[in-house]
């Protein structure tokens, strides 16, 4: 599936929640289900420190030339949103990731968590996803 197809799927999934309680239950569930991020990967170079919470992010280019992301956060809500982001962007080519516009966060009403005022590391993390893609793109290009 393309990144946009995945985004649209997430938007559809979240459309059933008309109550914040249910929506956040789902986000917390997603956070708890995110595959464990190994402790040895919690390196300073993988850390994005927000004022409120921490985010770790790591990426590798697999044998098919797709970028595979993994990550973690100390706050479960942040981790849940991280899980959504990684679900959407992971396993795509660097070019696709560079060109993507992540509109689903807005659509499912979680924009506030990507606001600079939240300072939870997510906004910087989204930028970081693109930086990884740009770095891998230059590798692929060689």
């Amino acid at each position: 599936m393309t990144i946009n197809q995945l985004q649209d799927e997430v938007i559809e999934d979240f459309a059933i929640f008309d109550d914040w309680f249910d929506k956040y239950s789902r986000i917390i569930e997603l956070g708890n289900e995110l595959p464990a991020f190994p402790e040895q990967k919690k390196l300073p170079e993988n850390l994005i420190e927000g004022c409120q919470s921490k985010v770790w992010i790591d990426a590798r280019l697999d044998e098919n030339g797709l970028v595979v992301f993994s990550g973690d956060s100390d706050a479960v809500i942040v981790k849940g949103i991280l899980a959504l982001l990684l679900h959407v962007v992971s396993n795509h080519t660097p070019q696709e990731i560079i060109e993507t516009d992540l509109y689903f966060i807005n659509e499912i009403g979680l924009k506030e968590h990507l606001s600079p005022t939240r300072s939870n590391g997510l906004l910087a993390m989204v930028k970081q996803l693109k930086f990884y893609a740009i770095a891998f793109q230059s590798q692929v290009g060689k």
Binding site: F21, Q52, K54, I77
Partner: protein, 407 residues
């Protein structure tokens, strides 16, 4: 005035409190960060701009004289509120942070040399740490730190042992913004003075909640912010003993702070103007004076008693919930509760309580050395003001219960 019996009419004075947030009535428990404003303060700001706006101290015209009189009357209101000996010992600043930076700069430039020492505490807000670290970089001074115990109380024995002949200043908070501890500043000042060392007291979290008298305390410098005591943002106060302020170099240069300017020699104005370069916030100062009159009318002792009642009620209700770790459990405590609910991250708890209209602070509260002491990244902080109610505390407790169901 007994606050409990008049709480409805008090709340009616604060227009913002009738708001709903995410379809819930606003429960505002972030008062240590900033307080809401009563109508009298809001109207004073409006009145300032609509009836007496003209630059102060510079005009012979009617409006300028009115504005100047209001600004200087505000200075006297602050002087009397703090119990200061002279109104020229009251310097208007932008807030606590600027007041501390002013002292760090001017006291530092005048009296400190490489190798000198200052003492701060481990429970200081960053505003009472970083200005001294900047001075450390400029001047090569060193900073000694008073530790605190598990209850969040300063270790007075260690404090007494930190003095040397190189010690030039003690800078300590009156009330901790995280732990709520009311520090024994009178005793701290007595000990420091026995070593001939002056003391700066950060009153940002004390002045809105307990009666303060700078002469009784014998504080050399005492600072606070207007916005934490129901006044406007952008106005604050530095009280300094005349003998120190007279001797200190000015902080910023500009209008008002000079006597004569020439390229050969500039002489400085007298106190307090020496430290008020540029156009002061004369609307802010008059509105701050109005805020002070507001709390004086209710009575500082009444406010302290009511907030202690709220604090005790909140601790009791939160303890009954169980599985909450409290940070700062001193018997001498202001109405601030820092906590960790189970294993729930403060960001998650704060985010979800916000959905219930409950405003609390989460994070390190600009006091990272405190977090380091407890080995934590942050806390959930509820801080109370005179308009809060036990019903709001019940809403907080119910909110925490509801959020816990999600985990």
């Amino acid at each position: 005035m007994d606050i409990n019996t008049h709480i409805e009419s008090i709340r009616a004075q604060f227009p913002i409190l009738t708001q709903t947030v995410h379809k819930h009535p606003l429960v505002y428990l972030d008062n240590a960060a900033t307080t809401q404003k009563p109508w009298s303060v809001i109207k004073k700001i409006e009145e300032g701009y609509t009836t007496q706006n003209a630059n102060v101290h510079r005009g012979v015209h009617f409006l300028s004289q009115m504005a100047t009189e209001a600004h200087e009357a505000a200075r006297i209101t602050v002087q009397q509120f703090l119990g200061a000996a002279h109104s020229h010992e009251i310097i208007f600043t932008r807030g606590t942070t600027e007041s501390i930076n002013l002292v760090a700069h001017s006291f530092g430039e005048t009296f400190l040399q490489a190798g000198d020492e200052i003492i701060v505490s481990q429970m200081e807000h960053h505003s009472n740490i970083v200005p001294w670290q900047l001075l450390q970089m400029r001047k090569g001074i060193s900073i000694k730190v008073i530790p605190f115990n598990e209850q969040g109380e300063l270790d007075m024995q260690v404090f007494a042992s930190l003095f040397s002949e190189k010690t030039k200043l003690v800078a300590v908070t009156h009330v901790s913004n995280v732990l709520g501890t009311i520090n024994p500043v009178k005793e701290i000042i007595q000990i420091a003075h026995s070593h001939q060392v002056p003391v700066l007291v950060d009153g940002a979290q004390s002045v809105p909640h307990i009666a303060v008298n700078v002469v009784e305390l014998d504080a050399d410098f005492y600072v606070f912010s207007g916005h934490k005591i129901y006044g406007p943002t952008g106005i604050g106060v530095l009280y300094g003993k005349e003998k120190w302020l007279e001797a200190m170099m000015p902080y910023q240069g500009g209008g008002e702070m000079i006597a004569q300017v020439s390229f050969e020699k500039t002489t400085f104005n007298e106190l307090p103007y020496k430290f008020e370069a540029g156009t002061p916030d004369f609307i802010g100062s008059t509105a701050l004076a109005e805020a002070i009159r507001y709390v004086q009318n209710i009575g500082m002792d009444q406010i302290a008693a009511y907030e202690t009642y709220l604090l005790n009620y909140a601790i009791q209700q939160l303890q009954a919930l169980g599985d909450i770790r409290f940070f700062g459990t001193s018997a001498h405590k202001s109405a601030v509760i820092s906590m960790q609910v189970g294993n729930i991250h403060h960001y998650d708890m704060g985010t979800l309580l916000d959905k219930l209209g409950i405003a609390l602070r989460t994070g390190h509260h600009c006091a990272q050395p405190i977090m380091k002491h407890f080995g934590i990244e942050g806390t959930l902080r509820a801080s109370f003001a005179l308009y809060n109610t036990t019903q709001e505390i019940d809403a907080l407790v119910a909110g925490i219960k509801r959020v816990k169901q999600l985990f």
